[in-house]
Each structure stands twice: as C-alpha cells, then as structure tokens.
Amino acid sequence: MTGWEIFLTAAIKTVAAFAFLLTLTIILVWFERKTVADLQNRIGPNRAGPWGLLQTVADGAKLLFKESVTPRKVEFGLYIAAPVAALVPALLIFLVVPIGRPFHIGDRLIDLSGTDLNIGLLYILALSSLAVYAVVLAGWSSGSKYPLLGAVRASAQMISYEAAMGLALVPLILFTGTTSLKQIVEIQGGSFGDTFLPAWNVVLIPSFLIFFIAGIAETNRAPFDLVEAESEIVGGYHTEYSGFRFAMFFLAEYINIFNIAAITVTLFLGGWHGPTFGLGAPFDWVLPIFWFLAKSMALVFVFVWVRATLPRMRYDQLMSFGWKRLIPVSLLWIALSTLAIGVRRMGLPWT
C-alpha cells in the first residue's frame, strides 16, 4: 500500500472508532440505567425519545450548558489536564481490539481493528496503567480533602488489581504464544477436536475469571467502587469537577467498561468468531461484528448485574482480596498451566 492509502485507512479507522465509542457510550449509559431499574423493580428513564433512549444525549447537553466551577485551591494546569488524561487512554485502548473478520477491498485486506500491534497485550496493560495518572492528577490538583483521599485509594486499588490482571494473562500467552490480539482471535477459530464446542480460550477459566474481576476493579465499578464511595468520600477524585469536565470522566468510565468487556471477549470468548450459517457475503463479515457486539454487551450486562447485586466492599477487604487471593491464585494458576502446557507441547521433562 502506498503512503496515501495507509494514511487514509488509518484516518477512517480512527474516526470510525471514535464515533463508534461515543455512540456506544450513549447507549451504554441508557442500557445500564434501564437494566438497573429493571433489576430494582423500577422503570428508569422513559421520557426522552423512544424508551428513554435519548436520555443520555439530554444529560450530555445539560452538562455542556452547566457551569464548570473551578474551586479556589486548584492547580489549574493539572486540574484541566486530568479529564483529558482519563479520556485519551480509554479511547486508545479500543484501537487494538479487532471487532470483526478482516475483509477485502479490491486486493487489499482490511483489518476491522484500529491497528494490529504485535505487543497488543502489553499495550493494553500499559495504557490501563496510564489511567491511574488521571485519577491521581485529578485528586491531587483539586486541592480538596475528599478528592485527595479518593485518588490515593484509587491508585492503590488500581495498581493492586493491575498486577493480578497481568498475571492472569500469562497462561493465555503461554497457550497462544502471541500477544497480538488479532492472532489471539484467529487461534480461537474452529472447535475442539470433533466436538461442536468452539475452541475459545475460555478453557483457561481461572485466567478468565481473574481477568474479568480485576477488570471490574480497574474500572472502579461496584463492588470495587471505593474510589467514589459517596458515603465516605463524596464523589472521590472527581468531587471538585462539574459541567463537561465531569462528563469527560463519565465518558472515560463507560468507554473503559466497554473496553474491558471487549478485551475479555477477544481474549477468552472467541472475539468475533461465531456461526455464520454459511450465508455468504455480506453476512460473513456482518455477522462476526454482531457476534462481537453481542458477546461484549453480554459482559457489560454482567458488569451492571454485579453492580445491582453486590454491596460495596470495605477497603481492607478490597486490598486483601487483591493481594491475598487474586495474586496468589493467579501465581498458582500460572504454575499449573505452565506445567500442563509444557507437558502437552514438549513431553515430560525427563523423556
């Protein structure tokens, strides 16, 4: 491909991903409110648009017209940088997730992902650590008590669960032998032997569970939402934010939820793989996108379900769950899976 084509492809993919994420956020917020309302025997938003679908748009417009208060003791530069620092990594992570089967335009094969990095998993982990900066910057630069407490808690929580998250991925890399998300999805095509069971990486059940739990904690969602425990520290790190500056944190949170769901689907649940029923074009690339979205939304539903069901953990429970349960279990699981995969691929060490 020439420079022109590469540039154009990249530009189209970026704009598409951006538009997709913004639209998705609107739907996700509505989806969460509706689902929680159902789970709690309420009705939920039903005025703006059909089934209240436009409620999020209305909220966004409201926030745009709201005053953005800048408290007195704020370090303005960092204070204004924090929402951006929250939003940008969330947008960037999504770029490596393949959302559908690659398709041809002429003789060119176009991946349905922003980009395919051979260090995909490292990239994801690196960017999700960057999210900590936004929280710490927001909390510290606010010059106020509760944001600071929330930020310190959040940073400790996020880095604790990030260690578990990374450890959970090691067996997966052992299993697939790559850190590129595209290849990880490709490996999951087909089925196990002659059975009808799809060859998804979810056979690494502990990895899947640990990764997903740590993902919930990474996004600071219930039951790990100590960061914004309103009964103790008001709004946590974004207490002093209002107007659209607050909306950016909100946006980042929902994009991150979808990111975690999408990455979990990609890594463990077969990504865009699913039955295409031999329907031929255009279904052989429309259906994979549908499967990907359906699986991701199912996981998002789990997010919401967990939030509606479980009470918030205490801080000491949170930390000891991370360090004393998840990390030892993932280390043990690494040992077990290494031995199993090693024996399977290389035979017994003494033969």
Partner: protein, 156 residues
C-alpha cells in the same frame, strides 16, 4: 500533506520488517483526536455555560461547611509499600510475558529458571504478608490488636 509524506517515509523506513511504524499511525491520530475533542468541547462548554463564581461556590468541598484545614499531605506508609510491591510484580510480569511468548524454545530449563524467579517473588509476597504489611484493618494487626483489645477490656 506533510503528514502523508511522513507516513510514506515511515513505511519506507520499515520496509522488510513485519511490524512497521505505520501500525502506530492510528494510535497517534487517536491521541491527537482525543486531545483535540476534549479541548474543543471544554472550550465550547466554557463559552456557552454561565460563569457566576461566588466565594462560597469556589471553596473546596466540605459537605457545605467552611473547610477548617488543608487536605492531608501525608499518607500511611502502607500506600508506598503497595506501590513498591506493584513495581516488583510489574517487573516480574515484563519478564514473564517475554518468556511466555516463546517458552517452548527455552524448554524445561526455561520453565525451571522462571519457576525459581517466580518463587523468589512469591517469597517477597509471603514475607510482606506475614509481616502484616498487607493488613489494612488496623485492629487485626498484632500489636495494635492488643492495644485495641486492651482498651476495650479496660472500658468494659
């Protein structure tokens, strides 16, 4: 136009290797795009939203009362220990990832070496755990528990 020329340059420089810097082009674009979007929309919000600051509105949030003191500047040392532990485990992770991608070519010797490495780090975790650095519940820790329990018994 310059951007396009630069793209061509990147591609031509990386010809032959499987990974090109052009793979990172969408990431760079999204970076610019994200920052641009955030800047524009915050500017827009600043233009169209009202701005009526009052001294009370600008005070740091303290549930409606006048803040008496500055936010705390010092934190329990445990947060720092968590940070250090995180660094240890993250470094471990970097080595584990690099090894896991090609673990077959290192064979059982590689698995053994990695096992020793992981056990050493596990030992760190066990030591820190047993010394109580991971206990966030103050009353559960040895000496403090004694103090708490004693004071409770005194009160009783």
């Amino acid at each position: 136009m310059n951007l396009i020329l630069a793209t061509g340059f990147l591609v031509s420089r990386c010809e032959g290797s499987r990974v090109t810097l052009a793979d990172y082009l969408p990431i760079g674009m999204m970076l610019v795009f994200g920052i641009g979007f955030a800047t524009v929309i915050m500017w827009l919000s600043w233009r169209i939203a009202p701005n009526n600051p009052t001294p009370e509105k600008l005070a740091p949030y303290e549930c409606g009362i006048v803040p008496l003191q500055e936010p705390v500047q010092r934190f329990p040392v445990k947060f720092y220990i968590v940070a250090m532990l995180f660094v240890i485990f993250d470094v471990e992770l970097v080595f584990l990832f690099a090894w896991a991608v090609r673990f077959e070519s290192f064979g059982w010797a590689g698995i053994g070496a990695m096992g020793i490495f992981v056990i050493l780090l596990l030992e760190t975790l066990v030591y820190v755990w047993k010394r109580g650095a991971l206990d966030w519940n103050v009353a559960r820790r040895g000496r403090n528990r004694r103090i708490v329990v004693d004071s409770l018994e005194d009160a009783a």
